[in-house]
Amino acid sequence: MAEFDEDDPSLAHSSPYPNSHSIPSHPIDVDLSEETQDFRFLSALTSNTALANSATTPSVASDAIATSIASTETVIPKRGTKDFEPNPTRSQQNALRASRQAMHDVLSGERVHGSKNWVVGYFVGSMGGEGESEPLGGRDRREEGIGLQDRDKRLRGCVVRIDQPRGSTFRTMGVSDRENRIWLLPEEALYCIERGSLDIRWGLPEAEKDDVKGGPVTGGNDEGSAKRDDKYDDDDDDDAPAFSDLPMSLQGAYATFISDKDLTLARYTVFAGLRRLGYTVIRAPTWHDSCPSSSQTWQEDKAEDHSTTTHARTVSPPPASTSQQSFFNWPSLRTFITSVFQLLFRWKSPSKPYHRHPNSCPSLGPLVAPGLYRSYTDIYRALALIPFHNPTSKPQHAHTAPAPTSSPERPSIQPQPPNPSMTSTTPPFRISYHVYKPTTPYRKTSPPAPDFHLAVIDAHAHPTIPNLTELGTLLEEMPLHDPRKDEKLKKGRAEMRLKAGTRSVVLAVVDNGVVSFLRLAEMGSGREKIYEGKVGRGGGKRSGRGRGAGRGRGRGR
């Protein structure tokens, strides 16, 4: 990161002394959420947004707060407020005590719902997912009982129903049905309850329950009501609230919505963290472990003009049987086929380096044939011998290989998909969420192409980074985004295009609630001819700049 960011002209202005070694901190280095901050500064974060109000009525309208926080964030002292090590002074003791008291006060803040923004949701149990765990087991949910007449597939996995949605929160969240009710997925419901925007009841309202065929909502409720009957005489609580009317606590919501398989705590931590920052986070089609992958529902890049590319992506190859998978060594087969095609296409490919200059003949004579050279570019081009991987051309191979027209010289295995291992990703290295930037206009009915594809990895279950195969399959599924066709990147520097890459994926690594994001991108380094760009600018333009400057800067914490 340091390599490119230091050279990034857009960031250069933020550092007043680009060559100085004594910069205490670099603006892009500072991530306040990286370490525990003193809770006494929370008021600095929220002072502009009427903390007094939001402490008692957390507002549903969140976007305004998000923007204002961005402007007030600088109020928190970056460093220097913490001490180096404990000493027995009373002043330090008092400071620590005050910090802890502030933390205690903040953590004891209640989630309250004022009359204006009191949104009530009803827990309906799991909506016919595929073998998802149902935390309050024994929920025999008949579809007619919960008003799911349309049997909407979109409602699969939803657990909470909101009859009267209010506020902007649900613009990017949940699924609405015909009756204008909103259905929330577990993570969405949990996030809403956590930020104080939603009051979830343990069951459906009483009136509705009478319509439900088969009586009470749960088997557990049967027991409960029986018990209640027993106790009526002792307690004379005629108006004892029904089980289903009880508000769900935050703890109850966590215990109910978080599960081992579906919504793990790691996934939820990532979801909530991004939502808090204003991103729109949507489940990817490959959410469930059993879902077939490479089902790309999003639109291909508009600038994409490879018709072959889109074709190859929408046609999913037939799944190969496991015996075949184990018999053939697919990666090596793949490289073999790739090289065959490279050989086939080389003779007619005009972009191949040593056909540019007709005089050079590397197999026989000198690399640079004798002659008159007007620029270094020609020489560099003649020197470019090593074939490189072009990420944008890969889908063409994938498309051509399984074509039914099998010519005699091809091996007999040709009709098989060339790389079955490349067609399905394995958990955890598969996409869980699609993420949209806050600035991307998002519509629930027609979601645009996601800005990021996110895979969530629990660092304790999977302590190693993905190997090349896993990474390859993951990147293979990503849509192609050619940096040379991007409006902004096209005009920018080659380094920026290389950094952007053609296909990219974001890994969210969760270590006990601490999330780190890694962006992995495939770059076609051979496509960017650095020497071509350099010629026009006189080559050594940046030579005077101290490249090592500022590296090894301390973070000091």
């Binding site: 003193d38 557990g220 606590s249």
Partner: protein
Amino acid sequence: MDANPDLPIPVSLIAGRYLLFAVDAVTYLRREHHICGVTIGTLPQAPQQNVFLGLPLELMPEEVRLLVEKGLAYVIDDAMAHQHGLANASARKRVHYVKHLRDKGRQAAISQTGAKEHSRALALSKARSKALKAPTIRAASHDESEDTNLTDTAEQDSLFGPSTPSGLASSDSLSITTFGVTPASSASLLTPPPPPPAYAEASLPAVPESYPMFKHLHSNGYFPSPGLRFGCQYMVYPGDPLRFHSHFLASYVGWHQELDLMDLVGGGRLGTGVKKGYLIGGVEKKKNQDNADMGTERVRTFSIEWASM
């Protein structure tokens, strides 16, 4: 803040992760036992930021193991606890729960109204003193301030109209609408299962092999916290992370495990880059001279820094 929760503290086990929802327990463990955990929940006061987070608190398995060994905590399966607790919650318990929440909601409503009235009174008195201080324009501004006052009160009244969305909120004799409350913990509704009398060795929370080093650092007064973000296993703080910077990036290495020199150099380089020491630790097993089977184990730690010579 100094409230001490009942010991042992029930720690919720949800989908293989250990969570705490009671604020008293969180503060107590931090204050008395150097167990900080990681807050992962959204703060309702400031829901759109990641710098300050709130309940629940996620504990590392190492932390839970330590607490369980000390008899300070015990683990409950929270999904099961809710399932059983809700099904068996007595009428009295439910009434109590709802009443408890209603009281809280009313308090919140009262305090909010109080805060609003306070700020309104403050603004009014300010306006009045301003008007008094400027007697020359007093006559002119008087009508104006009267007008604004009028509109203010009108707004206030409309804010607290009797619009109650749910039947739960009671119509009190007071003109204040009770707010709904979502409690953080279910403790007032559920009775947590009693702690087991003693933990068998096998039922202790599973921990990674680095646990001895964690325990060693913790017993020496350090505050270890998850450190993968900084490229290590634990960030080691000399005091409460609220007030102190961390000193070490710690990684566990088996005593006879061969170390790649590149890892040492990389770790040292990384630690120096963020002004910390790179620390490796392992368990040394010393054979007892009298009895070959009985040996003593001790954790030894080494710190590595980039020397400039």
